[in-house]
């Protein structure tokens, strides 16, 4: 396929358009992914997550610089939230990623969540595939500002960075669920602010209490401090350290044969998602289109039928052999 060739050849325009068509869920884009899929699996995917304004984009900008100095090409997928009221979105992560704005070795693409709840956009998994085939050595995925539950990033990354900032009250308390368990590397950001030593100590204590089985293949998450993004010297030094730690983590995954277990998660999610899109959605669409959905809602409201019987009935009609 011509588009596959273009993307293999590094055509940013074709890649961005394909990502666009994937976001818009155009049928021909799915077809292209079928062709690209066997070519994927080469890039190192790094997830960056943390609360809103924690400094994820600023860090990403720094990481881009470090990896470029090592001669690697970098793709970035930056996710920002869609407004639930208007369906529009302001994608502003790019403002902070300007150092390599004209570098052909860097490809930054913003995505809106479009209602997805896990901190990412639905199309992220496929967008990673596109950047992978495009030839990006490193793919950095920045999630939306997260709370405790938006942990989908773990399904798509080899290495997850959780960015924390001091001064948000009972720090560890507030974030202990979910988010902490997915970190391979903690970044204590804005360490110029008061409370960063306390935050680091609490993290350390939390890791000390965790059972050894919590550390996959014996990897104890590192805690890295970043002083101040506005002091280039110390910032760049801190970023170099983080960059090296990220590479160390990847090497750990390779050495301990753990890449597979990370990719198993991705495969599971992708398959589930594909089944949903292929089987459930056409049925829903048909029900909506024919007005049958409205009828059923009315009936459920009047208690003429319960939702389970209605669903079983739909399954019998549409998914013969599935029950």
């Amino acid at each position: 396929m011509e588009i596959t060739k273009k993307i293999q050849g590094g055509d940013i325009r074709a890649a961005s358009r394909l990502i666009r068509n994937l976001e818009d869920r155009m049928p021909e884009a799915k077809l292209t992914i079928k062709h690209l899929f066997p070519l994927t699996g080469r890039a190192h995917v790094i997830g960056i997550t943390g609360s809103p304004g924690a400094g994820k984009s600023t860090l990403t900008d720094g990481l881009i610089d470090c990896f470029r100095k090592k001669g690697k090409t970098v793709g970035v997928l930056a996710v920002d939230p869609t407004s639930p009221f208007t369906g529009g979105a302001i994608l502003g992560d790019r403002i902070r990623m300007q150092r390599h704005a004209e570098d052909p070795g860097v490809f930054v693409r913003s995505l809106a969540t479009r209602g997805a709840l896990g901190g990412l956009a639905k199309a992220v998994g496929d967008a990673i595939h596109v950047m992978d085939v495009l030839g990006e050595d490193i793919i950095i995925v920045e999630t939306v500002g997260t709370g405790q539950q938006e942990v989908d990033i773990i399904n798509h990354s080899h290495t997850v960075l959780v960015v924390l900032v001091p001064g948000m009250g009972d720090e560890i308390q507030a974030i202990k669920a979910g988010i902490l368990e997915i970190a391979d590397i903690f970044v204590v950001n804005k360490a110029d602010r008061e409370g960063s030593s306390k935050l680091s100590r609490e993290l350390m204590a939390m890791l000390d209490m965790a059972p050894p089985s919590a550390f996959q293949g014996g990897w104890r998450p590192s805690i890295m401090k970043v002083e101040n993004a506005f002091q280039p010297e110390s910032f760049n030094k801190a970023l170099d350290d983080i960059c090296n730690k990220i590479e160390e983590h990847y090497k750990h995954l390779v050495d301990k044969d753990l890449i597979g277990s990370r990719m198993r998660r991705k495969a599971t999610v992708e398959l589930n998602e594909a089944i949903r899109a292929t089987i459930l959605e056409p049925v829903l669409l048909k029900l909506l289109g024919s007005g049958r959905m409205e009828e059923l809602i009315e009936k459920v409201m009047k208690k003429e039928i319960d939702p389970y019987t209605a669903a079983e009935d739909i399954a019998k009609r549409n998914l013969e052999g599935c029950l």
Binding site: I12, R13, S16, R17, I19, R20, N21, E23, D24, R25, M26, P27, T82, S83, T86, G87, G88, A89, I90, L91, G92, R94, I95, Q98, A101, E102, F107, V108, R109, S110, A112, R114, E281, L285
Partner: protein
């Protein structure tokens, strides 16, 4: 089940620091249901074009209040052409005297909005004239 969305970039070329208008527009475009890429102030035409291509936008809106539009806007449209990306529609706004309109239209801009243009007028124009590309 496809779901086409308009992607729009709002960019401020040059040294102009008047970003209020650009921010107001970004928010207004979000409220109109577009996905808006806002890149902040002090962008070179090269940066703007490279971002517009990477983001695959349908529409690029330039905002400049400093008087440098005569040079900066055509620089952007020329670069888009050089990169084979002149299917991205370009419009502009800011402090632009009427005698400069023709020069900008000749450079490829499709519309110009000056102070006083209501947000309604701008969104209506976009909805009528720009469609998400396949």
């Amino acid at each position: 089940m496809s779901d086409r969305k308009l992607r729009v970039m709002v960019a401020k070329p040059g040294l102009d620091g008047h970003d209020r208008g650009a921010r107001v527009l970004a928010r207004c475009f979000r409220d109109a249901g577009y996905e808006v890429i806002y890149t902040g102030c002090h962008q070179t035409p090269e940066q703007i074009v490279s971002a517009a291509v990477q983001e695959d936008v349908d529409l690029l809106g330039l905002s400049c209040l400093s008087g440098a539009h005569r040079y900066l806007y055509p620089a952007v449209t020329k670069l888009l052409k050089d990169k084979g990306a002149d299917d991205i529609m370009v419009i502009g706004g800011g402090i632009i005297p009427e005698q400069d309109f023709q020069l900008l239209y000749d450079a490829g801009l499709k519309a110009i909005f000056v102070p006083g243009a209501t947000l309604d007028t701008i969104v209506t124009w976009i909805n009528t004239n720009v469609k998400p590309r396949a």
